[in-house]
């Protein structure tokens, strides 16, 4: 074998200082006591969060529930190009396209049906990466509970942005 730098971590037989057990137990109690006192008085080591009253602050890259963004006139930016459906590793997106009658140019598509099965979704963000129109982005909403499987299949109405985009809890999207 090639000569590699190794460090031997063997500790050999238990020395009498450890065999009598007294030293290690005092040191061990010291460690737990230190943590205990710091947590009671200093609150510096506390790793837990009192959820749901307190919520963890995630970064703006968190991949949560999807948002379908809209143009200024309130129509979807999505042009039903099927890129996100193709890029999805979990095959959880279903799109049915139709011709957009209100489009300023001819032959513009829009989604008649845009469904995401949130139980299949693995929240990898590949749909956001694939979208050439910034029509699908992700929010930071990650607490999703459903009482029936069919509820987890969400369509355009559930996914579209509700008000101005700044009001959404924005998560993973281009440039972040």
């Amino acid at each position: 074998m090639k000569n590699v730098a190794t460090v031997n971590v063997d500790r050999g037989p238990i020395p009498w200082t450890e065999r009598i057990y007294l030293g290690p137990i005092v040191r061990g109690l010291g460690v737990t006591l230190r943590h205990f006192l710091r947590n009671v008085f200093g609150k510096r080591d506390v790793a837990t969060i009192e959820w749901p009253e307190v919520k963890r602050q995630y970064s703006e890259r968190l991949r949560g529930r999807h948002i379908l963004t809209t143009k200024d006139d309130g129509s979807l930016r999505c042009v039903a190009c099927y890129m996100c459906e193709t890029a999805c590793p979990a095959n959880c997106i279903t799109i049915v396209a139709e011709e957009d009658p209100e489009a300023p140019v001819e032959w513009e598509k829009r989604p008649l049906l845009y469904e995401i099965d949130l139980l299949r979704c693995v929240f990898c963000g590949f749909c956001v990466d694939a979208c050439p129109k910034e029509a699908i982005i992700m929010s930071r909403q990650h607490e999703m509970a459903f009482s029936e499987r069919s509820e987890a299949v969400v369509g355009i109405e559930e996914l579209r942005q509700k008000g101005p985009i700044e009001d959404e809890d924005l998560g993973y999207r281009p440039y972040f």
């Binding site: 074998m1 090639k2 590699v4 730098a5 190794t6 460090v7 031997n8 971590v9 063997d10 500790r11 238990i14 450890e18 065999r19 057990y21 030293g23 290690p24 040191r27 061990g28 010291g30 460690v31 737990t32 943590h35 080591d45 790793a47 995630y58 970064s59 890259r61 968190l62 991949r63 890129m83 193709t86 890029a87 999805c88 590793p89 979990a90 693995v122 929240f123 990898c124 963000g125 590949f126 990466d129 694939a130 050439p132 910034e134 992700m138 998560g171 993973y172 281009p174 440039y175 972040f176």
Partner: protein, 569 residues
């Protein structure tokens, strides 16, 4: 790509000389550094034995055995062996082509014990029969399963019905074995759903009193068809799947896969991406060891350490989430680099971690390392010699605890690991305590690597600008026609990985994590075989158990760190 033509003897590298004339049909130096031998099955055992025994070859590690299906070829299957020599550092790939009507090869179990489960898997997935294998049964699928799922003509939409009588139990478990001196022995299931197994692992044991006289593992409870699914998805889409192999250190899996495909494409990720990959991989390794030791200790009654370790893990998860947007399944690596650059405060965050992690490690050391209860409980338990461990295909911290300093980062450096100054922790006793000590030291060594990497974090892009591989930046997609076309082609057609094959191996948290990747030139992989480190480790578990007691079984299982996600794939 297979080698069908016989090369003339003069072109052969000297390594082929030890084989008798005519036994090796073709020799080729593959681009991934392997010497590829194509062997007819009648000469297979002879060639394998020479590879193992000839001192100039000395292939003591059987990394992987797998099948590959080429439906268009006359000889439809390939059985592929991946061998390595720890002493010389060279790697061999031995391929045996087989026809569909008679897919039989002699078993290599007599040469490497490691072949046991790998051959069973190849039988399960492809129906290749290994003559002379002591126990050739299905391993990942159920016994009542029909067909061989990784064959290309297998229809994955089929469903098989299980009945109650199809419960799987080893033959010896159903027989009564009254013992003259003692009471009857008892058969007990450890798992698959038991808090102490930390995953869906099932071990059937026969107990004589509290002593285990026989044991057998039953795996496949978490089989999610990773390899079959990869064949129907694009190269880049495999990355989220790899997160779910060893989910305790998902970053390492994605990086390993990306490196393998980059090897086939002949590209390299930009320097900044390489260094970030190293930093996050090493932090993931710390996380993985923390989970392993924390869980192992909690099984032995040391609950406090579990919390200290999980605080480390929690803080690293926080960093991963800031970088990648996900905590557990990060999906951060991409073929050609990383999904996006690290956040602006990355360096400060990592430095904070570098400060806080050693404090928790010190606390655990104080509580456990010199604790006599823990030492009495783990020393001399689950001992395996280095030679034995290597024969079973062990790698990683478990092998290093048995005295063999094999670390892929040192033996076959990748991602610039040769530039970092770190040491490989080794213990010689090979017991549960040694595995604990090795993992503890490895965490400290990983911190050393992270510190050095952070000091030399270069600026620049984090993903290659090759538009055949990486999506163009968004601002270009929105504004430039050409970038939009590249974007479109990449999404719909995938990465055009040239036809060929490569075996890429990295040091996962549990040992050598290998990806054997075969491409037919299309946008989707033809075959991806994962060589999960704990698959090889777990197959030795029943042998270690014999003669020990149930509490020892729990202590050993925890120290081996079997992750069901990568075990069953």
């Amino acid at each position: 790509m297979t080698v069908s033509s016989t090369e003339s003897p003069t072109q052969r590298p000297p390594l082929a000389d030890p084989f008798p004339e005519g036994s090796v049909a073709a020799v080729e130096q593959a681009a991934d550094g392997h010497t590829v031998l194509t062997v007819d099955r009648s000469h297979l055992l002879d060639v394998l034995r020479r590879l193992r025994e000839k001192p100039e070859l000395a292939c003591d590690l059987l990394a992987d055995v797998c099948g590959v299906d080429y439906p268009d070829r006359e000889q439809r299957f390939d059985v592929v062996y991946h061998l390595g020599s720890l002493e010389h550092g060279h790697r061999f790939r031995v391929k045996v082509p087989l026809g569909e009507d008679d897919p039989v090869v002699p078993s290599a179990v007599g040469i490497w014990k490691a072949a046991d489960w790998f051959e069973r898997e190849a039988f399960d997935m492809f129906g290749i029969r290994f003559q002379g294998h002591p126990d050739l049964r299905r391993i990942l699928t159920h016994e009542a399963f029909h067909g061989h799922p990784l064959r290309k003509d297998y229809d994955p939409s089929q469903r098989w019905l299980l009945t109650e009588k199809d419960t799987m139990a080893p033959r010896w478990a159903t027989e009564d074995q009254p013992d003259d001196e003692h009471m009857d022995t008892v058969v007990l299931n450890l798992g698959p759903s038991h808090p102490a197994t930390h995953g869906t692992l099932r071990t059937v044991v026969r107990l004589d009193g509290e002593h285990i006289v026989k044991a057998e593992c039953e795996i496949g409870y978490l089989h999610r068809c990773f390899e079959k699914m990869s064949e129907t998805h694009g190269w880049q889409q495999v990355i989220p799947y790899t997160d779910r192999l060893n989910y305790c250190s998902s970053m390492i899996n994605g990086v390993g896969f990306a490196l393998t495909v980059e090897k086939m494409l002949g590209i390299e990720a930009p320097p900044r991406a390489q260094v970030v990959r190293v930093i996050l991989s090493e932090l993931s390794r710390i996380m993985d060891h923390a989970v392993c030791l924390g869980a192992n200790l909690v099984d032995l009654g040391a609950l406090t350490n579990f919390w200290y370790f999980f605080q480390i893990r929690e803080e690293i998860y926080g960093l991963l989430e800031k970088c990648a947007g996900g905590r557990l399944t990060v999906s951060y690596a991409r073929i050609g680099g990383l999904a996006h650059d690290v956040p602006a405060d990355f360096e400060d965050e990592v430095r904070k971690l570098l400060d806080s992690i050693p404090k928790f490690l010190d606390d655990v050391e104080t509580l456990v390392t010199t604790n006599r209860i823990f030492r009495d409980r783990t020393e001399g338990v689950g001992v395996i010699s280095g030679e034995e461990a290597l024969a079973w295909g062990w790698t990683g911290p478990c092998l290093r605890a048995s005295g063999i300093p094999y670390d892929v980062r040192k033996a076959h450096p990748y991602m610039g690991y040769e530039n970092y100054d770190f040491e490989v922790p080794v213990a010689t006793t090979g017991d549960t305590y040694a595995r604990y000590l090795v993992r503890m030291e490895e965490m400290r060594q990983s911190l050393r690597i992270v510190r050095q990497a952070l000091d030399n974090l270069p600026d620049g892009p984090v993903i290659t600008d090759d538009h055949h591989v990486a999506l163009p930046p968004k601002e270009k997609v929105y504004t430039e026609m050409e970038s939009l076309i590249w974007h479109f082609k990449l999404i719909f057609e995938g990465i055009p990985v040239p036809a060929g094959e490569a075996y890429g191996f990295t040091e996962g948290a549990n040992g050598e994590l290998g990806y054997y990747v075969v491409s037919d030139g299309g946008g989707k992989p033809h075959r991806i075989k994962v060589r999960p480190p704990c698959f090889a480790i777990y197959q030795a578990f029943p042998k270690i158990l014999e003669g020990l007691m149930i509490p020892d079984a729990i202590a050993i299982l925890g120290s081996l760190n079997i992750i069901a996600g990568e075990l069953d794939r």
